[in-house]
Amino acid sequence: MSLLTSLARLRALDEGVAQPIATVRHCHLSARPMVFIPLKLSGEAAAPLAAMLGTDRAAPHLLVVTQPRNRDLRFAWAAELAGLLLPYIEGFLSGTETVERRGADPYERVLDAPQLVVPNPAGVAFTRLLGRSTRFRRPDGPYPVPEGVPVLGRWLTYFAERAAYPGSSLTLAATEELGRHWASGQSGLEDANLAALTGWITDGPSDEAEDPLIWPPAGPATDPGFDAEVLAPAIESGSAERVAEALRGQLEPTWRLMWRAIDLLGALPAGAGVASRWEQDRGSFSGMAAQLAEGAPPQARRDGAIAAASRLARMERAQAAYDVQRAYDDPLVMAEHRLTGEAFAGEVVETDADRVEGEGRSRKLRPLVVIKTDDPVRLAPGTALGTPQRREQGAELMSARDGLVTVKITKGMGRSKTPAPGSVPEVGERVCYTSLTDDFKGSPGLPEAEATPWTHGGPPPEYVPADEDAVEEWS
């Protein structure tokens, strides 16, 4: 959190309403998101209790395990979930485009991809555990489970992993996304309560958000009071209907909140980088679908050394790119960098557009621009700069003193002897320059998995599906 966000929180607390900390939306919002609210049985690692899900806010599906300790009912629940989620996911596989790649074969990328929206990070974690407890099962052999269950497990695992990938929008946690766009007047810890956070953004804060009788928790954990006074007696009574109705009552308020959260995010215009990040999501989703179609084994329980290192490197690159893109897309995010002196904005007061350096063949166009700024610039001469106003432009800081910054433009002016029209800012224009640049960083040179050195445990064993995995207890 930056001081800018802290100030927004203070202002929110003072005014009693959340303050914006973004001027554009930084996540993709699907036209048909799948809202998924799972509930689990308290005290168990991953025993599903219920889920409310669907793409139509007027018609949620409710799936309930009416006797949570019954293993068969649990698998039947997973099969029902597969029956709803798999057609949704697979529906996106039909429309594709061919993507040419340099140095590699072209591949098919889906035109649109599914999007899973869960209430909070705990919902993502539970999705991962659900995936873990179902993906190693098999529809045949000595311990068969319904057909779709193992496939569902692999997709849930994929969606949960994707949620940790910076900038990906395939899986969104509502509280996280809201918190990226608004600062409430409460602590980050309290922001994990979806009812409280949406309250701050819409009607203003209310203690009702913490009253489980008015706003039941958004899951996956249920309210202990509800467990003791409503759920336990309902399960005891043996009436499936009573259990289902009790759980419906716990899920419906959250269902309404989820769509409200989606509407709030949807009211913001999308940032410029959202489409390209979604394109990467579409590519990743297509890759996962292709692996599944080729019969690849389920995702490993734990990454081997090489897989872990390359995943980490990928995520670090994605994080760096995501941070830079958000700053370029959103002046309010860029303002955080202006506050720390890594960026500055102001009005152009002087230009020398036709300035050149060097003689003869090494003669280069190097226009100078002087910018008057109120920002505290903490950049050394020679620092490479970029600007959100002209993404293709490259520049270099010459000097900065007394609120006047001189910048030399080095790139993005066309090929002729004078700068292309509009490529050099004119006097009076407001511009912003920053040392943040989204330079492509190559991936680290990692050996093949088969060549994992002994210091890192040697090559990981190849996964062979075993009956043991398929029969793993789920109690």
Partner: protein, 366 residues
């Protein structure tokens, strides 16, 4: 009479369990909490009475699950537990004895535990022994708290190991870090109590291992798995906190003479003291609210409400408070940002930053 006992008045003392002792270290800067814990006042009852009941509760499903799992681990004279201990500690297979300390009746359990451990430590028996239901004690601010570790294992080579049975799952070798941290803090309390016991008996306290055995269900099944957890760090924190508690006398000396946290319980045990009066008494001792209190302290809602009324920036979390470096109230921080308030000495830098931040926000949101 001890001044802390005066603070408590007629309210019966609430005995500390390991979880409560472990929680003492959660917010060491909070005087209100230190005094209430030191005096042994039931904070949960106080919070309820004040109209700010704590947001904690345990689901009956979780309780049942925890009991079932512990029973499974301890079934047939800890048969399942012994299997795991052999693996992680290298206990000899044949020579393991099982002692259920509970057999002697509650009033004798602590004395019996002492005698058993004394003998084990003195004789240096070759045999591994598992002690079920031992009862340890620990001095907390002048009062004795009795503690029940799940199991204590005594192994060949003369080391005692605390065994902690928890029902959160270890999935593919990983467990919820928060749950593991809580278990480690709790186990550290037992390690400390057992070390003090050995010390009193004239044995080397370091014969109690700082590695505790954490027993949890593996993956999604009920099958238990044991892991060694190093609790040295938790031990250090706990020791520091407990020595601070004995230093409560200093805090107490500065309190007004008429200050009392007495709940005045009636015959039914429910507090009869007017809630407003109790609230006033509590407000005379400073609290140090932080949002983390919401998961550790029974009084959290009361203190949060107080922080709201004061407009304290603590409400927004430690990170915000640290970033504001020394500006405690919301109004003050906003005044500095708006330029309507002049910075006090030492506030010039944060005031400049806040004014800059305000200028940038206005510019971007215009």
């Amino acid at each position: 009479m001890n001044r802390l006992d005066v603070l408590r008045g007629t309210t019966p003392q609430k005995p500390h369990d390991a979880r409560a002792i472990a929680a003492l270290a959660a917010n060491p800067g909070c005087t209100r909490r230190a005094l209430m814990d030191g005096a042994g006042i039931d904070k949960d009852a106080a919070a309820r009475h004040l109209g700010f009941p704590a947001p904690f509760g345990q689901s009956p499903f979780a309780i049942t699950r925890g009991n079932v799992f512990e029973a499974l681990v301890k079934a047939d004279g800890c048969a399942e537990l012994l299997r795991m201990l052999r693996e992680v500690l290298g206990l000899p297979i044949a020579e393991v004895a099982y002692h259920d300390v509970e057999n002697v009746g509650a009033h004798l359990r602590h004395a019996h535990t002492r005698a058993l451990f004394d003998r084990a430590a003195r004789d240096g028996l070759d045999a591994g022994t598992v002690y079920d239901h031992p009862l340890l004690s620990l001095e907390i601010a002048g009062h004795t708290a009795y503690l029940e570790p799940d199991v204590v294992a005594f192994q060949m080579g003369g080391r005692f190991h605390i065994v902690e049975i928890k029902s959160f799952a270890v999935i593919d070798g990983q467990a919820d870090p928060a749950a593991v941290a809580a278990a480690a803090r709790q186990a550290a309390v037992y390690v400390l109590a057992l070390r003090r016991l050995l010390e009193e008996l004239g044995h080397d306290p370091l014969r109690v291992a700082h590695d505790v055995v954490l027993v949890c269900p593996e993956n999604f099944a009920n099958r238990p798995v044991a892991t060694l957890v190093d609790v040295r760090r938790q031990l250090a924190v706990l020791r520091r906190q407990l020595s601070r508690m004995t230093g409560l006398d200093g805090l107490v000396a500065e309190l007004p003479d008429d200050l009392s946290f007495d709940l005045l319980p009636g015959e039914d045990g429910l507090p009869t003291r007017p809630a407003a009066e109790l609230a006033d008494a509590l407000r005379r001792v400073t609290a140090r609210y932080a949002p983390d209190c919401l998961s550790t302290c029974d009084l959290c809602f009361f203190c949060r409400d107080e922080a709201r009324q004061e407009g304290a920036s603590d409400l927004l979390g430690r990170q915000v408070r640290d970033e504001l470096g020394g500006v405690a109230s919301v109004a003050e921080a906003l005044g500095l940002a708006d330029g309507t308030r002049d910075p006090a000495e030492g506030q010039e830098e944060i005031a400049r930053l806040l004014r800059n931040a305000e200028r940038l926000r206005r510019e971007c949101l215009a």
